[in-house]
């Protein structure tokens, strides 16, 4: 579930987490489909980011992500269990870009 700034909200998006007032009171529940009115109201509240439903947005490219993985594991290549762990993490990271 991506977290996006209020200015990027569009009608039709669904809330992945409820919007709460400072005291914890729920103003809009989880799963609410946003329309123009709700978006205006949210903009009037003191809120910066909102969680909406959907796949997470990756901030770096797949190539960068996999390069990072290789660097992180560079000291433990061939050590017991480490290649197996790395493989699982690699499959996981690749899955984020499908």
């Amino acid at each position: 579930m991506p977290k996006i700034p209020v200015s990027k909200l569009e009608p039709g998006m669904k809330l992945a987490k409820p919007i709460t007032a400072k005291n914890g009171m729920i103003m809009l529940g989880e799963g609410t489909e946003l329309n123009a009115t709700w978006i205006d109201r949210i903009a009037d509240m003191d809120i910066v980011n909102v969680f909406v439903e959907g796949p997470p947005i990756q901030t770096i490219s797949k190539e960068e992500a996999l390069n990072g993985l290789n660097t992180r594991f560079s000291r433990v290549e061939g050590k017991p269990y480490m290649n197996a762990i790395k493989k699982i993490v690699k499959v996981h990271i690749e899955g984020l870009y499908e």
Binding site: M1, P2, K3, K17, K22, G24, I26, N49, F51, P56, A65, G68, L69, T71, R72, F73, S74, R75, V76, K79, P80, Y81, M82, A84, I85, K86, I88, V89, V91, H92, I93, L96
Partner: protein
């Protein structure tokens, strides 16, 4: 070589209330935590007396880190549900948040990721109190905060040395301080009367084979720590994944699908967890 005497270091840690670098909120908390017989009612009152703290605690207990169904709306409900030890740990966790941001950028994300991963592994292994293991994951690196706060230049030197010499931050700390964040964290946990298992997890999370009382919990936090680094969430003083302790790994016997589940849950919950601040 280091000119820091570990005895002096320990003395400083044990008198954390008098350190000028430590912010007031932590000092007030320290006074509460070190009381020998603090009750759940007192803790609850302490949290409730501070609206900012109340908000943080409620956000935390309602977050993916704990994964309780439904919404916990009051501090008293949260304390009853989680118990004294978990609430004490949480209180410390949310109180050091800002300090973590200031002293080591990324350490809070690392700690949150580790808390989530620890809880999921604990649940998979059928531990009775997954929340306690989660708190251990949240606090396992608290020693780094104290070291970086009290000795900023030396800690930066340790980070640089780890990079230059291709060694772990743990070993670099040992060179700089004749002690590590694991020692410092466990001294603090002891001073604040945390349960024995939690002290041991903090003390042994880099060397889980030494854990006597809580080998399973220690192994869990050790593996959780490693998986968070493997995925690349946050920063704990170095970017490299350390070698897994084979005894801990074989003790847990996590299957491939277990590890996949941990990564998946971490992925889904990290963003919302970072919102806790």
């Amino acid at each position: 070589m280091s000119n820091i005497d570990p005895k002096v270091l320990r003395h400083k840690v044990e008198n954390i209330n008098t350190l000028p670098t430590v912010p007031g909120v932590l000092k007030r908390l320290s006074v509460v935590l070190e009381k020998p017989r603090i009750t759940i009612v007192e803790i609850s009152a302490f949290i409730s007396s501070d609206p900012a703290l109340t908000t943080k605690i409620l956000k935390m207990v309602n977050s993916a880190i704990y994964g309780f169904p439904g919404r916990i709306a009051s501090v008293s409900h949260a304390t009853m549900l989680l118990g004294l030890n978990v609430i004490k740990g949480l209180l410390l966790g949310v109180s050091v948040f800002e300090l973590m941001q200031k002293t080591m950028n990324g350490l809070y994300e690392h700690s949150l990721g580790c808390a989530i991963a620890s809880r999921i592994i604990a649940q998979k292994k059928g531990l009775k109190e997954p929340e306690e293991v989660s708190v251990a994951g949240l606090l396992h690196d608290i020693g780094k905060v104290i070291l970086a706060l009290e000795y900023p230049a030396e800690y930066q030197a340790a980070i640089n040395e780890a990079q230059a010499k291709n060694i772990s931050i743990y070993d670099a700390e040992n060179i700089q301080f004749n002690a590590t964040h694991a020692n410092v964290g466990s001294w603090l946990a002891e001073k604040w009367r945390f349960p024995r298992n939690l002290i041991e997890v903090i003390e042994c999370h880099h060397r889980p084979a030494l854990a006597k009382n809580a080998p399973l919990e220690t192994a869990i936090v050790h593996i959780a720590d490693l998986l968070v680094r493997a995925r690349g969430f946050g920063f704990a003083g170095e970017i490299f994944v350390p070698e897994v302790n084979t005894i801990a790994y074989e003790l847990l016997k996590l299957s491939e699908s277990d590890i996949k589940d941990v990564l998946k849950e971490m992925e889904e919950n990290m963003e919302s967890a970072e919102d806790i601040s």
